[in-house]
């Protein structure tokens, strides 16, 4: 993707002290940005509150969202991937409320090829 001239940015509601861990653990070569209060995710219309029944389960598996995110909202973004062209227009949008489904990276590469060939 970077070879096709694209920048990559990853965004999560967790505090900077946590994004640095993600960035280093996965040896990421692009910026991982802290979206306090999910303000940017909200503009992409991705934000939802984690169901009350799930909150104690999340805590048990180490996903203590108030500790990670620095607020008591228990809000998360749906995992979403967007390709945005130079003019700021969304050219590919993949959002699934089922967190186990993710976009195939090949779809991003194909979208970027179309953009660069145009």
């Amino acid at each position: 993707m970077q070879a096709l001239g694209a920048s990559i940015v990853a965004i999560a509601p967790e505090q900077p002290v946590k994004t640095v861990a993600t960035s280093e653990k996965d040896h990421l070569t692009f910026p991982v940005l802290s979206d306090a209060g999910n303000n940017v995710a909200r503009q992409f219309k991705l934000v939802f509150p984690v169901a009350e029944v799930l909150r104690p389960i999340y805590k048990n598996i180490g996903a203590d969202l108030p500790a990670y995110n620095g607020d008591e909202s228990w809000e998360l973004p749906m995992p979403g991937t967007f390709v945005v062209d130079k003019s700021g227009t969304v050219r590919l949008a993949f959002v699934d409320a089922d967190y186990t489904r993710r976009l195939e990276p090949q779809a991003i590469v194909e979208c970027l090829r179309q953009i660069t060939q145009a």
Partner: protein
């Protein structure tokens, strides 16, 4: 990256399924049922269909990296297209 045992050309969704098959036996049934129920509810709510769509303008924003560097999206776009990916957290 974090799954060096998989070759890079394995489809991502296959890798996720393999990981699930490995994890599922370790998770208590009632917890699995809660995950499935709440995910189904979220899918049925239609929230994903209301998210930002192809053809719409992406909002501009400025956010900080862990190192404290401010990244302004419109400046990133001056260099070319961008892939923006939202994840829930490193947990």
């Amino acid at each position: 990256m974090s799954t060096p045992s998989h070759s890079l050309n394995t489809e991502l969704q296959e890798q996720i399924s393999a990981f699930q098959q490995q994890m599922l036996p370790n998770i208590p049934k009632e917890i699995l049922a809660t995950f499935e129920k709440t995910t189904t509810e979220l899918v049925r709510s239609g929230i994903a269909e209301r998210s930002l769509h192809v053809g719409e303008k992406a909002p501009d924003f400025t956010l900080a990296t862990a190192q404290g560097e401010q990244v302004k999206f419109s400046e990133v776009l001056q260099k070319g297209p961008a892939v923006v990916t939202f994840y829930r957290g490193g947990w």
